[in-house]
Amino acid sequence: MNGEGWLAAGTTPGDVDARIARPALAPRFGAGWRIGLSVSLLGVLVLMLTVSVLLTVGVGIWGITRPAYWGFAIANYVWWIGIGMGGTFISTALYLLRQPWRNSLSRYAETMTVFAVCVSGIFPILHLGRPWFFYWLFPYPDTMNVWPQWRSALFWDFCAILAYLLVSVLFWYVSMLPDLATLRDRAAGRMRRVVYGFLALGWQGEAREWQRLEALTRIIAALGVPLVFSVHSMVALDLSEGLLAGWHTTIFPPFFVAGALFSGFAMALVIGVPLRKRFRLEALITERHLDRLAILLLTGGLVVAYCYAAEIFMAYYSMDEYELAVTRFRFTGLYAPVYWAAIVCNVLAIQPLWWARVRRSPRWLFWIGLSVVFGMWCERIMLVLSSEYRPFLPAAWGRFMPTVWDWAMLAGSIGLFMTMLLLFVRWFPVVSMHETRQLAHESAQGSREAQA
């Protein structure tokens, strides 16, 4: 990998360590962080309250009713897990493509993935109605003598999330071992040395260990790409295996994957821009990095826009009256505002990214990213509800209106995500130190050679 030019000129490996390790080892952190954490913890409290009420009363506290049984829970789940996909894509596909600029982004992108997937998993389990029986999803020899339904996308989805969650959490941790070792070696107090030392598992950075970590990283990167694409395809199949108009289409898996990557890149910007500013990482996450992320975001957005157009086209091309009706419901029905919000936030709001100046402006990128994150939530809501609330028989038509608990659950999930993220950035390296160290060495060497 030729890492030349991806860090600010004159960045040495020592700078890298100092910049990344110093915040984690600092005795105090800013007041802004404490306020942010307090607000996020409030969100966690709201989530705990909601879950307690849910477990006591039942899923009826949500607005779900016939025929719209999925409601917010499933839409939120799809939204959260989609956000995670972007991080895995950055850390795996770009690794395989030998894009050295990913080194500065991979750690926080993976962190975002891990936390988003953890949060997403809460929703389908609670949506089961009797979440304490969730283990019935496992194929285990039970006294009822029944097996899971192997042919159902719901079971495939369960396998996909399980694989995705375990592989991404464990790999995230293992690839952090060298950085935890650095913190262990640099920590001043005994307490921190013990905690980081415990977490580093005794990593030393011996040639043998690196050789294995390199081999593992390469293969996990190769496995991660099919994992990303298959996991969100399974999520899409949950919907398209249903026969409802609007869901029952073959475009859903690629459409969902594109949307997932799109929202993941957007979240990477929403988190990355403030992180860069707060930790003064401008030398490591340069404007060129932001530019690349913005191009990925724009590309994802164009694919998503194409899918929106293709859905409308297919409805009119098929002239199937139910497909046509769903398309019209989307344009003008009960949930039309959500549809149009998705179009505005996901298709129109990203168009400024064609200009290089916008792509290099952190402020613009933050707000565009936030718009896309919100727009993708609207899209998930739109996809789930617009087909669900008007099934084939008009006699069965109903409506889903979110209750206060639906909103509480959504806000709580954001609070939980933010809490984990804030705790992480406080105590752990937000940029992979060993990967950027390598970049810094390579670019220092490159400039020496250029001078010679």
Binding site: A153, W156, L201, E206, I219
Partner: protein, 177 residues
């Protein structure tokens, strides 16, 4: 491992000098060299003549076991243990068995790889004698360390030789010292 043996720990500032020293030391007949670096150095495993890692093979086998095992489980369940006749459709509906098998392939390959890395590297192991060596903590930030076993000699010749090959700090570690 030759931890109990006394040795010389040499510090280098760049990966190139480390690689050069390792190469020279091996061509002089030194064996049992160990090196610590702050990031994976390309070519270090080759010049140290480390055997290629068998992790990829283990991951392949783990993935195959996971995938084929899931297929076998589904076949056993749907065809042998609990066959359900749904409109005369085939019991062994392999296209539908594919997705869980794919996910379990990825999961098992990943788990084997991660556990393999830890177990083969002897992790977790919170105390290792090397942690007591002076300057060891530098290997996790910007030093490239090389350890050479000292046999009977007092190491003066080796010391000079290392210094002439780009080593910065030298210290005697391990053994009784």
């Amino acid at each position: 491992m030759s931890i109990g043996r006394p040795g010389l720990l040499a510090r280098f500032d760049t990966p190139q000098t480390l690689l050069g020293a390792v190469q020279a030391a091996r061509s002089q007949g030194h064996r049992g060299l160990r090196a610590w670096t702050p990031y994976p150095v390309e070519g270090l495993a080759e010049v140290l003549a480390l055997p290629p890692s068998r992790l990829p093979l283990a991951m392949l086998l783990g993935g195959l076991a996971g995938g084929l095992g899931t297929l076998a489980l589904q076949y056993y369940s749907a065809v042998i243990d609990y066959p359900v006749n749904i409109g005369g459709r085939p019991l062994a509906s392999w296209p539908a068995f594919g997705p869980p098998a794919l996910e379990m392939t990825l999961l098992c390959a990943g788990l084997v790889g991660i556990l393999g890395l830890l177990l083969r590297s002897g992790l977790p192991r919170w105390h290792r004698p090397e942690f007591d060596w002076a300057g060891m903590e530098q290997a996790s930030s910007d030093a490239f360390l090389l350890w050479l076993p000292l046999d009977d000699e007092d190491g003066e010749a080796l010391r000079d030789w290392l210094l002439s090959n780009g080593a910065r700090d030298l210290s005697r570690v391990g053994g009784d010292s």
